[in-house]
């Protein structure tokens, strides 16, 4: 659950960056948050490896502490011009996302700001993954073996944590700190049930993710409920359907 931890732990980074930049759309914000995410994973790492605290406890300690720090910072800065509020942090502001418009030539509206931020993040992640695919594959399957080959697993570990932090930060502005974890985990977990290659898992996970967002959006508009809630609900239902079907087909194979 490192993703969960990071999504909460980035809060102080966002707040600090926000104080300095004074606006919600600055690149500094992203940078600050990503940096805090990486620091959080370093603290978790330190607690579990060096101080020998249990893994779950290390994560729990780190993210609640950093999250609390962020909450206090928001509360104490709340009197000023800071319009970062807890609701928005926890649940995102997808419903009001159109308020941050990108307008070119004075009046041509080309979509919400968050969309472009996500797009840039997408390409960064895609490029890093393409270039570093072998390394990520190796350390996620068998880190000790990677070390035995003399590969610097620390660098790969932090690179991966950096990507998780980046994903969390750009997602979190839109869907909030709680449910961003669902977007991070549910689509790949669903994909893993039916693929047998890492490459395919990445592609199928993206497809499931996008599918859940689109279907979830329309379901939520129809019932007039939270968009994010609808999306995660669709992703979760999809997970259980795939789980059921893949178990069912395995049983068929065994009988045949």
């Amino acid at each position: 659950m490192v993703g969960d931890a990071i999504s909460h732990a980035v809060l102080p980074g966002i707040v600090v960056a926000y104080f300095f930049s004074g606006d919600k759309t600055s690149g500094l914000l992203l940078f600050g948050a990503t940096l805090t995410g990486v620091i959080a994973s370093a603290i978790i790492d330190f607690l579990s490896r060096k101080a020998k605290i249990q893994g779950d406890a290390s994560i729990g300690i780190t993210y609640t502490l950093l999250f609390a720090l962020g909450m206090i910072m928001i509360a104490s800065g709340g009197g000023n011009n800071v319009d970062l509020d807890m609701n928005c942090v926890l649940y995102g502001d997808i419903a009001t996302i159109n308020l941050d418009k990108v307008i070119v030539d004075g009046n041509l509206y080309i979509g919400p700001y968050a969309f472009y931020v996500e797009l840039v993040a997408f390409f960064i992640i895609l490029i890093v993954l393409l270039v570093g695919f072998k390394g990520f594959k190796l350390i996620s399957f068998n880190e000790d073996f990677a070390k035995s080959l003399g590969i610097n697993t620390g660098i790969w570990h932090y690179l991966m944590m950096g990507l998780v932090a980046l994903t969390t930060v750009v997602g979190f502005e839109v869907v909030g700190a709680v449910l961003v974890v669902g977007f991070l985990i549910i689509p790949p977990a669903t994909a893993q049930l039916i693929v047998n290659q890492l490459k395919n898992m990445l592609i199928v996970a993206v497809a499931f993710g996008v599918g859940a967002v689109i279907i979830g959006f329309y379901v939520a508009s129809w019932f007039n409920v939270s968009y994010t809630g609808g999306m995660i609900l669709v992703a979760g239902i999809n997970f259980f359907i795939v789980l059921f079907l893949s178990n069912f087909s395995k049983k068929l194979k065994l009988k045949a």
């Binding site: 020998k52 270039v131 068998n142 035995s148």
Partner: protein, 263 residues
Amino acid sequence: MKEQCSIEVHNLTTTYGNTPVLWDVDFELPSGQIIGIIGPNGSGKTTLLKTIMGLLSPASGYVKIFDKNIDQMRERIAYVPQRESVDWDFPASVFDVVKMGRYRSNNLFRRSTKTDLAIVEESIEKVGLSDFRNRQISQLSGGQQQRVFIARALAQKADIYLMDEPFVGVDAATENAILSLLQEMKKDGKTVLMIHHDLQTVSDYFDYLVLLNTRLIAKGTPQEVLTEENLSNAYGGQLTLLAKVANLIKENEFPIRERDVDL
């Protein structure tokens, strides 16, 4: 023999937190032999292999591989971790995993070469998994998964092979197949250092033994190591097991290579 000593472990102490798991362990291993590490559960066998590989750093002492530091010797030493140490549900095929044996810190950003792929095929063939090369690793038996790990090590084309309990969860036929593979490697001058848990087969399998229980209890040929005194020092209270082995040794005298299987 160009290199007499494959691995030198000098006054090695490794701790987890403040608990020493290896205490002042000191030995030199011959090269070109099949060497066994034995000792009760929790006696530090896995820790010893990890310290030799530099995955754990010792509290004191050092390890030399062919008289050099491990980091200069990574090309020549292959590590087979305990099978349970990885998640076999990971989305990868047999071929994918064995290919990792060709990964190096300086080729991670390149495509595998033709030579690499040929070596991977050859290694899969050697462990008899050619028919399974595209099979997802979660759909293999325990013995087949173990062979995938061994094939990955073979693909490294090393001179020394460290294996952590490669016979756990492996059926008798596979165990024999792996064993003859090891004999073949030995003929090619390779050194194999393997953790083994089955005392009844040690004198058959190994040329040299290291008996461990946090401290080094004994080292040498099976005849030298498998004495009643050494075994009781290492295994302490586990008397039934001990009696069995002692009897076995007495009945057969050494060498017991030709013994029947009526244990």
